[in-house]
């Protein structure tokens, strides 16, 4: 009964909840960060989630479950389905590198299970382990015999994803999410309990204790920065809004597909709200209470920072080294990350499958076969260009960040300005007993897109030129970018084919209706 909600929660709850959010919050005076975080949740996250769930159902009622098809309904024009190509490119492109990271999580869990991890108290051992295991020394190194372990786990993750997706939404995705999400919460709860009962592990370092660890994460002020001074940091507001945006999986092309399978009488507002609430709970109550406090308590403030990968795959293993029963909690932690990753990755394949089925007329088996091949090539590109994780970084930037921003902006503008706020609100209110006040329409039409475009603008200013320079200087980055362009062109060509098919089907439908009408007369 709550299958779709758990499936969307599974899609939304991922590595970012446990790694990206804590790192960002700690970077920006934790407690102060929560103010823009919650403001962005209600001004940006929830309205856009409501909008995306609603427009998905609108498209689904007309028989379309992919973004190109749904855009065709929302905005009947020749060009609108082509804008929807992002709804295929983004989830498929993200899947290509997400499954790679998923394999890392499974491999680490396995290493803990067999006692091969932890590696002692020296952080360089973990850095070397991670760098070697992920093939960061040279492009193509993962395809050598020495790196066969990761490739085996990558294959396992790949096959698992395909088996689950083959079983369909009800029998595969929902079932995995209905089991996986509760297991994730239980594992996270166990780790949280362990962290909160750490006390003062090293009596020689009395400042490294639970309360100070929580304080490092949640205190709104530091010795140098006051609360209001922290709030005046525009970077923090941008980071918080960006985190809300990415954590809720809006603009991924996933929610719009999942919600397209709901009926008119189904409550999209409650579904959207519950998914958002579940994701926020996982992020704040679990992610916010585990990662940074644990790193602070056992390793000190200097360790409680760094990128998501550093935090997850170097710092946390070192934390478990210093923890009693560290191997058990290490296994639980990486198993939790694996569950978070796989429930997200399986969600990323359905939008493309839906498109192949309705746009090209292929059945599920053939659609999955085509998609398997495409994603295998893409994951191969990511795995090959492993030096400095450049392939992964490029895919994450151009597809997993820029692509999402673009798709979300397009969706909000189509929904608010072309489909129309009045129609959108009418559709949203259908099937729900929750109040949807008119000011929500104002938010979706004016505030959310403005907020989104402001974040987008600042983000482009901060990042785009650096990545363009990288394309000029680095051949691996360039080749990955060309692959992304090739993939985009491929999907656009498929949409051209789909448009012809839909036009033909519309013609046949019109002819049948004309014949019926003449018969009735």
């Amino acid at each position: 009964m709550i299958g779709v909600i758990l499936a969307v929660m599974g899609s939304a709850i991922g590595l970012g909840n446990f790694l990206r959010f804590p790192g960002l919050a700690a970077k920006y005076e934790g407690g102060a960060f929560m103010v823009p975080y919650f403001i962005a949740l209600f001004l940006l996250g929830l309205p856009i989630a409501w909008m995306e769930w609603t427009i998905g159902r609108v498209g689904g009622e007309k028989g379309y479950h992919s973004t190109p098809g749904i855009f065709r309904i929302l905005w009947p024009s020749k060009g609108s389905p082509y804008l929807g190509f992002l709804g295929i490119l983004v989830p498929v492109g993200i899947y290509m590198y997400y499954v790679f990271i998923e394999a890392w999580c499974l491999y680490y869990a396995y290493q803990y299970a067999i006692g091969a991890l932890p590696l002692g108290a020296d952080s360089t051992a973990y850095q070397q382990f991670f760098a070697t295991f992920t093939g960061q020394s040279a492009d193509g190194s993962l395809f050598s015999f020495a790196h066969s372990n990761l490739m085996i786990f990558l294959l396992i993750c790949y096959v698992l994803n395909m088996i689950i997706i083959y079983r369909g939404i009800a029998g595969g995705i929902e079932l995995v999410s209905m089991v996986g999400i509760p297991v994730l919460f239980i594992a996270a709860g166990a780790i949280l309990f362990r962290v909160l009962t750490l006390g003062t592990p090293d009596v020689n370092l009395p400042d490294q204790n639970v309360l100070n660890g929580l304080g490092f994460m949640w205190n709104p002020t530091t010795e140098t920065t006051g609360f209001f001074e922290a709030l005046s940091n525009s970077d923090m507001w941008l980071a918080a809004a960006g985190q809300i945006f990415f954590t809720l999986s809006v603009g991924f092309g996933v929610i719009i597909t999942y919600s397209s399978y709901l009926k008119r009488g189904d409550d999209v507002i409650l579904s959207a709200t519950t998914s958002v609430a579940g994701n926020t709970f996982a992020e704040v109550a679990l992610g916010g209470m585990i990662t940074i406090p644990a790193a602070f308590i056992l390793l000190g403030p200097a360790a409680a920072g760094g990128s998501s990968f550093t935090l997850g795959f170097i710092t946390l293993p070192l934390v478990f080294e210093h923890m009693a029963w560290g191997s058990l909690f290490g296994f639980l932690w990486f198993f939790l990350l694996f569950i978070a990753a796989i429930t997200s990755s399986i969600s990323m394949l359905q939008p493309a499958i839906a498109f192949f089925e309705e746009g090209l007329g292929t059945n599920r088996s053939i659609s999955i076969t085509i998609l398997s091949f495409i994603t295998l090539v893409g994951t191969g590109v990511v795995a090959f260009f492993s030096k400095g994780l450049i392939g992964l970084d490029q895919m994450d930037f151009w597809i997993g960040t820029l692509g999402i921003f673009l798709l979300a902006t397009i969706q909000v503008i189509i929904a608010g300005w072309i489909f129309g706020i009045d129609r959108l609100l009418t559709e949203a209110r259908s099937g729900t007993k929750l109040p949807v006040p008119n000011w929500v329409g104002f938010m979706i039409k004016y505030v959310s897109p403005t907020f989104l475009l402001v974040i987008f603008g600042f983000w482009l200013k901060q990042n785009l030129f650096g990545y363009i320079d990288l394309l000029v200087e680095n051949e691996s980055a360039r080749l990955t970018f060309f692959f992304i362009l090739f993939l985009s062109g491929f999907f656009i060509m498929l949409i051209i084919q789909a448009m012809r098919r839909w036009a033909h089907l519309d013609e046949q439908t019109n002819q049948s209706e004309n014949i019926e009408n003449r018969g009735l007369k």
């Binding site: 009964m1 709550i2 299958g3 779709v4 909600i5 934790g30 407690g31 929560m34 919650f38 689904g60 479950h65 079983r167 369909g168 939404i169 009800a170 029998g171 595969g172 929902e174 309360l211 100070n212 929580l214 304080g215 994460m217 949640w218 205190n219 709104p220 002020t221 609360f227 399978y261 709901l262 009926k263 009488g265 189904d266 409550d267 409650l270 579904s271 709200t273 519950t274 609430a277 579940g278 926020t280 709970f281 704040v284 109550a285 916010g288 209470m289 499958i353 839906a354 089925e357 059945n363 599920r364 088996s365 007993k433 929750l434």
Partner: protein, 52 residues
Amino acid sequence: MNIGGWVIMILSLVFVTLFFLGSLYMVIRRGSKSGQLHSTFDETPDMKDIDQ
């Protein structure tokens, strides 16, 4: 941990917990009154494939 940290942590945790549990409660309560509130069981293409 200072007073501000306690306030923000507790308020945040209470809010997200109530938000989540409240939403789940509404889903379960509504689900018991109307059969397939969120089920996609008879909607998804895989079910159509099986039927064929």
